[in-house]
């Protein structure tokens, strides 16, 4: 089973959600800024790599967790992926897409543009972290909800 956390640039919110999911970031407190710097792929995705699914790890249920940047074109990229995999005979029940932009703070958005688009990493990266820390528990709730759904799915199967 594969789970894809999707966001605009595949560099901040999707990485945060995947990290909470995999236990790289805590789910009971807001992490320190330095903890974000230690997360793999945080603020790393280049614009030229948008669309590429990046493997983050395997969770306790045995699901493979990926991150993906899709700009604001989820309604274009996801049907393309699903129809292509379906044509190749892949069971679509084996993959899930989760929108990780649910609680995007404007500071994260501005910081992301500064860091990824204009290359102002020293300004943009702290700003993205500040924004994510402000709405951190929204990401924790999202991940908890996803995990509950996965557990229910496993119980059913």
């Amino acid at each position: 089973m594969k789970l894809f956390y999707c966001c605009y640039g595949g560099a901040h919110t999707s990485v945060t959600c995947a990290s909470i999911h995999l236990g790289y970031l805590p789910d009971d407190r807001v992490p320190e800024a330095r903890e974000f710097w230690a997360v793999p792929f945080y603020d790393k995705m280049e614009s030229s790599m948008l669309g590429t699914p990046v493997y983050m790890g395997r969770d306790l249920f045995g699901w493979d967790i990926y991150i993906m940047g899709m700009k604001n074109k989820k309604q274009l990229v996801i049907p393309a992926i699903r129809s292509c995999l379906s044509a190749c005979g892949i069971d679509l029940n084996r993959l899930y897409f989760v929108n990780a932009l649910a609680a995007l703070h404007p500071a994260t958005s501005i910081g992301g543009i500064a860091s990824r688009r204009f290359g102002l990493v020293s300004l943009g990266r702290p700003l993205t972290i500040w924004g994510i820390r402000k709405t951190y528990f929204s990401y924790v709730s999202l991940v908890k909800e996803v995990k509950q759904n996965l557990k229910a799915e496993l119980d059913l199967s």
Binding site: L50, P53, P79, A80, S83
Partner: protein, 146 residues
């Protein structure tokens, strides 16, 4: 093995190249009136549904040929599909761009088709002009790719 032709709309240049590939369109003459009407209808119905794969047929080597509309995000979709293929162990997908063959006329046709007062025959005429202009280009590009 599958081949996907992709372009902005997926029903204009990508479909034309796919139709040439499978032999639906002759590589010697322009498509027949019936074929032009059929592709025009396809454009009217599916051009505004990018991201949905359109099955066109099988080529001479029994490979499935599709067309796909990607709007301006062909690169991102190619990376997404190639990434998914790696993840799921599918090694038999070839993606061919038809983006540069589309031109501006399809944009005009699609925009005009949203205006109810534009007569259908005028849109069809524009489509025919586009096909006549692009057919040779598609044929040439197809020969290079094959």
């Amino acid at each position: 093995m599958s081949i996907i032709y992709y372009s902005f709309w997926g029903t204009y240049a990508a479909y034309t190249m796919a139709a040439l590939r499978i032999g639906l369109y002759s590589d010697k003459n322009l498509p027949t009136e019936e074929q032009i009407s059929a592709q025009y209808l396809l454009c009217r119905r599916f051009a505004d549904q990018p991201g949905n794969l359109i099955y066109v047929g099988l080529d001479s080597q029994y490979r499935e040929v599709y067309s796909l509309g990607c709007n301006r995000h062909g690169g991102m979709i190619v990376r997404a599909l190639c990434g998914m293929n790696k993840i799921f162990g599918i090694d038999s997908l070839q993606m061919i761009s038809a983006e540069s063959l589309e031109g501006d006329l399809p944009f005009l046709i699609q925009r005009l088709s949203r205006l109810n007062f534009i007569p259908e025959r005028m849109l069809k005429k524009l489509f025919r002009i586009w096909l006549e202009r692009s057919f040779k280009k598609c044929l040439k590009a197809g020969e290079k790719k094959i």
